[in-house]
């Protein structure tokens, strides 16, 4: 029973496929050789194309409500019950708005940019395992695929900013690229630690490597010193990759209005938001896969809950974490941003690689906890100290007008 529930979507797909096959046989139509694989691909992709935009719609409402509560207000509460239909109103508004293209804009590039952005945002889902046997394309180099496709979106951001012929857009694009290039290094290197331990780039194999239980805790990488540090660095870098607060300089509403997508309106504007949120889900999914045990249940006793439910529960938790940080932290300055990336994140992530290697070669036992943990904590104290604590600016004083 639990097994069938766990595999319900996989079974459904097989059932649909064989049903189609039978139907064609019954109709005595001989489909061309390439058609059945194509149908299979469509059946794998259609859920992704439906579930994640739906999640996007829900998340926009939940985010606004959550931020509202954090700021001591209600958030949207007018459209539908408790305001949960707000996304429908927003969507309709975006659809019926006029699509304005600046006269000086580079029309073709201006049009292609959001399209590429959304395509790349969707493509990365192909390699994410959402549950047991639930991955659209089980690539041997899945992790690499994820990062490669994600990197292509930077070019789209640049295209959007440059083609608008707007100084704010260009500034936003330059900021975005500088930020994405800087934070891609810690993002990739923090996942390299996982690759080193598991010895594979395949995301399904990485999940399988975390499926065992050691005592009370499951064998998730986040429950190791290097894994915890790696997860923290991964989430910070992911936050920066996504241009979300506190790393929202490329969009900085208060200084460059909306950054690289300032000259987009109507549905194209909505596409930017869609791709932003899709990337957020995808990166959260990757973080879950790499560090939080993927679709594995935390305790063996909880295995009866289907694997995909675990994946989405963890996904929602990480989304909440993103919203929570957004509601808490103010925006960084450009120099602080670069300092954090190059003087803290990158050295830390390199040390983390060494810590992972130590963990691997020390062998089981408390020794690996000690060595690896000491290295991580020591490096954290040492690297965190100079840039962020040395400046004693004293107690803040206020002067009021008389």
């Amino acid at each position: 029973m639990t097994d069938s529930l766990d595999q319900i979507f996989v079974t459904l797909k097989h059932w649909l496929l064989s049903g189609l096959d039978d139907l064609l046989k019954w109709l005595e139509v001989a489909p061309p050789g390439w058609s059945m694989p194509l149908v299979s691909i469509v059946l794998s992709l259609a859920p992704i194309l439906m579930v994640f935009p739906a999640l996007f719609a829900i998340t926009t409402v939940l985010e606004r409500k959550g931020l509202g509560r954090i700021q001591n207000r209600y958030g949207p509460n007018r459209v539908g019950p408790f305001g949960f239909l707000q996304f429908a109103a927003d969507g309709i508004k975006a659809l019926i708005k006029e699509d304005l293209v600046p006269r000086a804009a580079d029309k073709v590039v201006h049009f292609i940019a959001p399209v590429i952005l959304v395509i790349t945002a969707f493509t990365v889902y192909a390699v994410l395992p959402f549950g047991r046997n639930m991955v659209a394309a089980d690539l041997d180099a899945g992790l690499l695929f994820f990062f490669a496709v994600g990197a292509a979106s930077e070019l789209a951001v640049f295209m959007a900013g440059w083609s608008s012929r707007n100084k704010y857009a260009l500034l936003g694009a330059m900021r975005a690229i500088a930020q994405m290039v800087s934070y891609e290094i810690p993002l990739i290197l923090s996942s390299v630690a996982v690759v080193m331990i598991t010895g594979t780039l395949s995301l399904t194999k990485i999940v399988e490597a975390q499926s065992t239980h050691a005592g009370l805790l499951p064998d998730w990488f986040v429950f190791t010193p290097w894994g915890f540090m790696g997860f923290t660095l991964f989430m910070i870098a992911a936050n920066a990759e996504l241009n979300r607060s506190p790393f929202d300089l490329p969009e900085g509403e208060s200084e460059i209005i909306a950054g690289y997508f300032i000259e987009y309106s109507g549905f194209k504007f909505a596409l930017f938001f869609l791709s932003e949120y899709l990337s957020m889900f995808a990166l959260s999914g990757l973080g879950i896969t790499l560090f939080l045990g993927g679709w594995n249940a935390p305790f063996a006793a909880l295995d009866f809950i289907p694997s995909w439910a675990w994946f989405f529960a963890k996904l929602l938790a990480l989304i909440f974490l993103f919203i929570w940080t957004r509601g808490t932290l103010p925006r960084l300055r450009q120099d602080q941003l670069m300092n954090l990336a190059w003087k803290f994140m990158i050295p830390m992530v390199l040390v983390n690689l060494v810590a992972a290697a130590l963990w691997h070669f020390t062998g089981p036992g408390w020794m690996r906890w000690l060595t690896s943990g000491a290295l991580v904590v020591g490096a954290y104290m040492l690297l965190g100290k100079p840039q962020f604590e040395s400046k004693d600016i004293g107690k803040r004083t206020y002067r009021f007008a008389d």
């Binding site: 695929f145 292509a152 070019l155 440059w162 330059m174």
Partner: protein, 164 residues
């Protein structure tokens, strides 16, 4: 020669030609990015997953970005006034032909051209890593050294000069 390969090759060649002939520098660099992407597709089509994805990650994700960034930081995207052919086009053509001939000669005489295309081998990422760390460790280290030197050079150039 088959249809997918022909399409990919056409895309690459068209993008490369566009990169050379377009008047707008940013358009050219975007066309270069398309050519890089086409090359990655060619690798993927040849079942070289790792190389293909690395091609996208490094060339589209980093090199193309650096090119457009450099274009932006130096002279904006205004198209040049004069003819796009440089005065020394003849020498350029000569060098291109020479490079192409060398590469073609290498490819024709390499072991790859003598291999039977039917014996397909599954190359995993692990094997590539092993090969890089054992058989090709020297080239890898040399490239690493070269890149480090380039990096230090860039830092020195970018360093603010102390006022004396």
């Amino acid at each position: 020669m088959n249809l997918p390969f022909a399409i990919i090759a056409a895309v690459i060649v068209a993008a490369a030609t566009a990169a050379m002939t377009l008047r707008n520098l940013v358009h050219s660099s975007l066309a270069v990015a398309v050519a890089f992407g086409g090359l990655a597709l060619a690798y993927l089509y040849l079942d070289a997953q790792f190389v293909g994805l690395t091609q996208i990650l490094v060339y589209v994700g980093a090199v193309a970005i650096l090119i457009v960034f450099a274009v932006l930081l130096t002279r904006g995207g205004e198209p040049p006034e004069k003819c796009i052919f440089s005065a020394t086009w003849f020498w350029g053509l000569l060098i291109t032909v020479a490079v192409f001939a060398t590469l073609a000669w290498c490819v024709m005489h390499s072991f790859a051209s003598r291999r039977d295309p039917s014996d397909k081998v599954e190359v995993t990422v692990k094997q590539i890593g092993d090969a890089l760390m054992t058989k090709f460790v020297l080239p890898l280290e040399v490239i690493g050294l070269l890149l480090t030197a380039a990096l230090i050079g860039a830092v020195i150039i970018a360093m603010r000069e102390e006022k004396k």
